[in-house]
């Protein structure tokens, strides 16, 4: 064997033994296999659907839906002219409505009970403990059934509604209260509200700076609250009260007029937020416990009152521990809202992946769109929470 041939041999062997080349080779192999598998599955599905005479494609989205929907927000829905696309949109709106209000309520419940769980008062502490342990250990679906069939359904019938004042009714068809119907010139009120909110942010920043410079404390909360209430009221007075009120009235079957919260919505909202609230409470408790006790002692030795200590020293540090797991609770709540179908709330799963799917028979398309929706909304929530997490993260100087 000549020296040249031996070199060649070595080069050959080296190529196969080079971990980088090997890694690239296997990665390409895996990608080819995955792409091939997906293509095979897609092709085979299409062929078999056609063979069985099952319609496919997305044309059904522009077909009239033909069925009625119980809860329609922000949109007009007419069973004869509205399409399956409208059904999808209404489903999305309804899911978002219950998810957003659920997240809001669950956060409040969670923070309150998380703090109570740490209370030195034995009774308060145990009440929080019982709430958390009971609620966390019962399946959500069972709790939803409980709220819908065992709590809200057994409220008084419409005829004997419980009333608070003359215009607020509670019965087994939900909660009814007066509605504000906008008339011409109403636009100034939301504009005034927006201005008030922007002004509040500016006031807060200014007060913060002033406190840094001079040490004087400005009553930010009360000023902002005043702004937010007074500005819209002034706007309303300027335009001469540009709205009419619609009051609930007893009709033949149920209460008409005013706004109402349907029992399906209420049951879902209560179920979701009380269930998720229990998990959030545990997260909040662990977050607060994670802040070293020395911080509290240091704050107290500086003469800061206990309430302020919690707000200004403990919570900002605890939030860094709380936010990441909180994100996954928000995601859980949003995804769990799909259990709505069990109690008749018209969310995207019940409407689009339920009724539309069944009327059109296009299971694969409907389920795909529904999955895509949940995926995007979950990713959006994650993005927002990651942004918030970065904002409150410890800034090293």
């Amino acid at each position: 064997m000549t020296a040249e041939a031996a070199d060649l041999e070595v080069a050959k062997i080296n190529k196969f033994r080079d971990p980088r080349i090997r890694a690239i080779f296997y990665q390409i192999l895996v990608i080819v296999l995955i792409v091939g598998f997906v293509a095979y599955v897609g092709h085979n599905t299409a062929v078999n659907l056609e063979k069985r005479g099952i319609a496919s494609g997305f044309n059904f989205l522009s077909q009239p839906a033909g069925f009625g929907i119980g809860i329609v927000l922000l949109m007009d829905f007419d069973s004869q002219t509205s399409t399956h696309l409208d059904v999808l949109l209404i489903g999305i709106i309804n899911t978002l409505a219950v998810s957003i209000s659920g997240i809001f309520l669950a956060t409040i419940i969670g923070f309150i009970f998380g703090v109570l769980r740490l209370s030195k008062n034995w009774v308060v502490n145990k009440i929080a403990a019982v709430y958390i342990e009971v609620i966390r250990n019962i399946p959500l679906l069972v709790q939803l059934m409980f709220w819908y069939f065992a709590v809200l359904s057994v409220l008084p019938l419409v005829g004997d509604s419980m009333s608070i004042g003359n215009n607020f009714f509670v019965n087994n068809r939900g909660v009814n209260f007066p509605a504000m119907i906008p008339s011409t010139g109403f636009w100034l009120i939301p504009v005034a509200l927006l201005v008030a909110i922007v002004a509040s942010v500016l006031v807060r920043n200014w007060a913060h700076k002033r406190q840094d410079l001079t040490g004087q404390i400005f009553p930010v909360f009360w000023v902002c609250l005043g702004l937010i209430i007074v500005l819209p009221v002034i706007a309303s007075l300027i335009m001469g009260n540009p709205f009419t009120m619609s009051y609930p009235e007893f009709g033949r079957f149920s209460i008409t007029g005013g706004w109402s919260l349907e029992p399906e919505f209420l049951a879902l909202l209560l179920g979701l937020s009380i269930y998720t609230g229990a998990f959030i409470a545990e997260i909040v408790r662990s977050g607060i416990n994670a802040v070293s006790h020395g911080q509290t002692e240091a704050a107290h030795s500086l003469g800061i009152r206990p309430g302020l200590t919690t707000r200004l020293v403990i919570l900002p540090q605890a939030l860094r521990v709380i936010v990441p797991p909180l994100t996954s609770q928000y995601l859980n709540l949003t995804k769990n809202s799909s259990l709505a179908t069990a109690i008749g709330y018209a969310d995207i799963t019940a409407l689009f992946a339920g009724t539309s799917l069944n009327q059109t028979g296009q299971a694969i398309e409907c389920i795909m769109i529904t999955m895509l929706f949940y995926l995007s909304i979950s990713l959006l929530i994650s993005m927002f929470m990651n942004w918030y997490n970065k904002r409150i993260a410890l800034v090293e100087r």
Binding site: I54, F67, T256, T355, N358
Partner: protein
């Protein structure tokens, strides 16, 4: 459940490349039973009895098919399906035949890839309300809250009827008939709407049936019948002629009681053909020549099944009405078996 059947249809459509052309009859014979899709429980049509055995009018159809194929009505396994799941279950091959008071419509027949084999119950959609409301006609229901089962023609007819009469309603939609009944009884809604047979069935299991009335209006045609998948004509034929044989048997006055005597000494050629003592109808279907004899002997004719499950004297107490034979004032009319 819903997810499971979706996955079933997805995987079936994905992997079982040759399943669509396989003969269902051979599969059924090989596994030794028929997988029959029924309701999750509707008194009179399909519901488990006190011993956990499925009984009812639709169940009788499954048993009749089993008798025709195996000579034994018990070789059936039942898959309870909700209105929403039933079609995916059939499309995916999870069940061999669906006998689940399903309305025969154009889009189900054409677009979903099914074959309705006939009508075993002529029905129409109605409304049930509590007597205490004092409602006498469906036209007084403007503004009512209506409980309805999802994935049904009922939902569509309801919207059509209220639009046509310029009325408004709120719908509350549930997956199973039991949930709808529960919500109606709890007074979460004013009205329960479904096919009239379903209303009678649900009323029969309510504690005080007298407190509820079914309104006189029938707002739709609901021809209910069994169905199979498109594409296997032999299997479709067996299902179709099982139903026709039961109807024809009633018309010819062949019942489970007299079928043996008739088989031994009838001179009527129609009866001889159906009972297999002359001709080869059974062999043409790929079954034994005694297929119809086995159906009648084990399950009975259409009238017997109706009387046993739905008719006067049962809890449902439904009159034959449209479902009487064509020569007795109804529209039941089987094509001749020859």
């Amino acid at each position: 459940m819903k997810k499971a059947s979706f996955i079933a249809v997805a995987t079936a459509a994905t992997f079982m490349a040759t399943a669509a052309t396989a003969a269902t009859l051979d599969d059924v014979k090989a596994k030794g039973f028929i997988q029959c899709g029924v309701t999750t429980g509707l008194a009179g049509f399909a519901a488990p009895n006190n011993d956990g055995k499925w009984e009812g009018f639709d169940v009788d159809f499954c048993r009749a098919m089993s008798a025709a194929i195996f000579g034994d009505p018990e070789k059936v396994k039942y898959t309870p399906t909700t209105a929403k799941e039933r079609f995916t279950a059939l499309q995916s091959g999870e069940i061999d035949v669906l006998a689940r008071n399903t309305t025969w419509t154009f889009s189900r027949d054409v677009n979903l890839g099914f074959e309705f084999v006939g009508v075993n119950y002529y029905d129409g959609q109605g409304f049930m309300v509590k007597k205490a409301l004092g409602v006498k006609s469906a036209l007084e229901l403007d503004g009512a809250r209506v409980c309805v089962q999802s994935g049904t023609t009922t939902e569509l007819n309801l919207a059509d009827y209220f639009t046509a009469n310029g009325m408004k309603y709120d719908s509350v939609v549930f997956d199973t008939a039991d949930e709808v009944r529960e919500a109606y009884l709890k007074d979460t809604c004013d009205v329960y709407t479904t096919d009239q047979s379903g209303l009678y069935a649900q009323r029969s299991v309510i504690a005080d049936p007298e407190a509820h009335i079914v309104l006189p209006e029938v707002i739709s045609k609901e021809p209910l019948g069994p169905l199979v998948r498109h594409g296997d004509n032999q299997w479709g034929d067996i299902a179709r002629w099982t139903l026709n044989a039961m109807v024809e048997a009633e018309e010819l006055n062949i019942s489970s009681a007299n079928v043996d005597t008739l088989k031994a000494d009838t001179k009527n050629p129609s009866i001889q053909r159906i009972l297999g003592t002359s001709g080869d109808l059974g062999q043409q279907l790929g079954l034994s020549n005694e297929w119809a004899y086995n159906i009648i002997k084990n399950v009975g004719n259409y009238g017997e099944s109706f009387a046993r499950n739905l008719g006067e004297g049962t809890a449902l107490n439904i009159a034959r009405g449209l479902n009487a034979q064509w020569n007795k004032g109804g529209i039941l009319y089987a094509p001749p078996l020859r």
